[in-house]
Amino acid sequence: MAAIRFDQVSKLYPGPVRAVDGVSIDIRDGEFLVLVGPSGCGKSTLIRMLAGLESVSAGVISIDDRSVNDLPPEQRNTAMVFQNYALYPHMTVRGNLAFPLKMRKTPPAEARAKIDEVAELLELSPILDRKPAQLSGGQRQRVAMGRAIVRDPAVFLMDEPLSNLDAKLRTQIRADIASLQHRLGTTTIYVTHDQVEAMTLGHRICVMKQGAVQQIGPPGEVYERPANAFVAGFLGNPGMNLIPAGAVSAAPDRLELDLAGQSLAFESSAIPSGDRIGSNCLLGVRPEALTPVKPNSQEPQLRCTIEAVELIGHEQLAHLSLASSEMPSTPLAGSYTDKIIARIPSTVRLERGSAMWFGLSPDAIYIFENDGEKRSIDHRATESPPVES
């Protein structure tokens, strides 16, 4: 087990392309950290640098306070589960499990005992004499896990290990990985672009974008208190709705927004002052926070048109557009859209093309500054007063 530190770590490729840009993360001994972000955000590069498969352009990577920048991969005592498992095709499952032990000159009797122990732990005993080509996707995944844990590495690195599995198997193995990590207590860094994996697996998640860390924290905290519009939009399925809005007026306790001609007034002690928001901002609201209501001018409501409805079992996703197509101009107007998604119980009858009103509680909204980079309102930090009309 080991504590890991990334200190101002950068990776530059010729071009120059800055794949990782001054990343600093402290990972505690035994912690399960999930790196999450869209493709090309630098998360895989980061763990490949830790494993020694990529050189470090700047900064220091330490394992247990010892810099590993110049150590070859075989001396770092890390084990990696690759996206395509990278099982040795010419070896049996037993051969695959034995290889790392053989490389470390483990005595044969000890190696045999270790292989049997891992095989039992991962239910690989019946397939020990098969070759990878004779295994199913789930079995291959378990063999890859076994090869990683058989030599008790200081750090587990997992690079999207579930992405080649079907949805059902993914859910099952996701739970297995979480329980295995809990049992072994080995420091683990898990890379994924799947935010469900990120939310369910890690002690903490680290959201990355364009080589830089956007936010690190426990999954619940990152979900509830996103640091910026990117994190808000990335986490959640579907992600948070981010609607460009004009701030008509913003006083310490009152915020009045103009959303495509619809005026919404919120009153809360957490409302920032007008000069912090500027004239335009992004209104963030989670799909599950949009609740259908009857038209009522006494509370903040959005009038939307139902564009499409997707039934997903006990719920349905309503794709909405604001009643007016006029959107305020913001630098992020191209990045965000007036298309809004609401998650609604399937018992509610929705009709395509019809208008619908959605209530917006000040507790459920997020205000991001004009550039989308900072969260202006922190309603979770203070207790919001009841909505006043």
């Binding site: 494993a51 498969l53 075989e74 890390t78 084990a79 690759f82 990278a86 040795y88 290889f99 030599r151």
Partner: protein, 280 residues
């Protein structure tokens, strides 16, 4: 014309073209094998008749005559030794070169690869004379060494290995590195066992090229003690009387090891060539 009829015509034309090509390829071999079993006088006289394929009488007399006229065993030994050395050493050298070009982070790698590709298109005949002077100057004439060393490094073999290794998943090597294997160990224990097809392909290709080598041994050797089979067969033309049955029998004996090699490695050969991006 209906679609079915058109498909039938296409199929028929395809079969006809394939049949003609196969006949063109196989006919000389069949003619050689059957001719080697016929009395010497009948080989040419029956060439244009049905008896060229269905002989009236067969015997192994030509084989015993051919073996008596030239020391077949000695020439076979020479050819086998030279080819074995070229193939085995070539596999080691060219595989490592291909791997280095495909995988290692080396300065000047692109230039080295361009040079390999450039050498690929230079015919051996173009460099045979300068090479003759160079190797004669260092006293290597009339030896096995002079027939082996210049052919160990082969640009075609390097290219075949390079293409194959380029397509091998990099994660295999990375997994091995993380498991504790260094570069050599990774190459020997992980890369080589997974590169059987390309090793088979290179074995066949280099065996084919070197087994039939004629010009270079003719230039560099004068003693039968070190000369390979192709020079022995040439001696039948210069030693009177010219016996076509003997020549064909010797040809069959010379080609037989090639056929054995090809049949043994054929399964991997096709995969190897296909995986090397040189389909067909």
């Amino acid at each position: 014309m209906s679609v079915t009829q058109r498909n039938l015509w296409r199929q028929a034309i395809r079969l006809l073209v394939l049949g003609l090509c196969t006949t063109a390829m196989v006919a000389p071999l069949v003619f050689m094998i059957i001719g080697s079993l016929k009395p010497d006088a009948a080989v040419l006289t029956e060439a244009g008749t049905l008896a060229a394929i269905f002989p009236n009488e067969v015997s192994l007399q030509n084989y015993t005559d051919a073996a008596r006229r030239v020391p077949f065993g000695r020439f076979l030994f020479n050819s086998a030794l030279i080819n074995l050395a070229i193939v085995v050493l070539g596999l080691a050298v060219n595989a490592l070169a291909g791997y280095a070009l495909a995988r290692l982070d080396l300065p000047g790698k692109k230039i080295a690869l361009a040079l390999v590709m450039a050498v690929l298109v230079i015919p051996f005949e173009a460099i045979a004379i300068p090479l003759f002077y160079q190797l004669s100057a260092i006293g290597l004439r009339d030896s096995y060494l002079v027939q082996i060393v210049p052919f160990i490094a082969n640009p075609l073999s390097i290219y075949l290995f390079y293409s194959f290794f380029l397509n091998l998943p990099r994660e295999l090597e990375e997994a091995a590195r993380l498991d504790g294997a260094g570069t050599w160990r990774t190459f020997i224990t992980i890369i080589v066992p997974n590169a059987k097809p390309v090793f088979a392909a290179v074995t066949i290709v280099s065996f084919l090229f070197s087994w039939g080598a004629y010009l270079w041994p003719l230039l560099m050797t004068t003693r039968a003690a070190v000369r390979p089979l192709p020079l022995a067969i040439a001696s039948f033309y210069t030693l009177p009387p010219r016996q076509w049955g003997d020549i064909l029998a010797f040809g069959v004996m010379m080609v037989a090891p090639l056929l054995v090699i090809f049949i043994v490695f054929q399964r991997w050969f096709v995969t190897g060539v296909a995986n090397s991006g040189m389909k067909g």
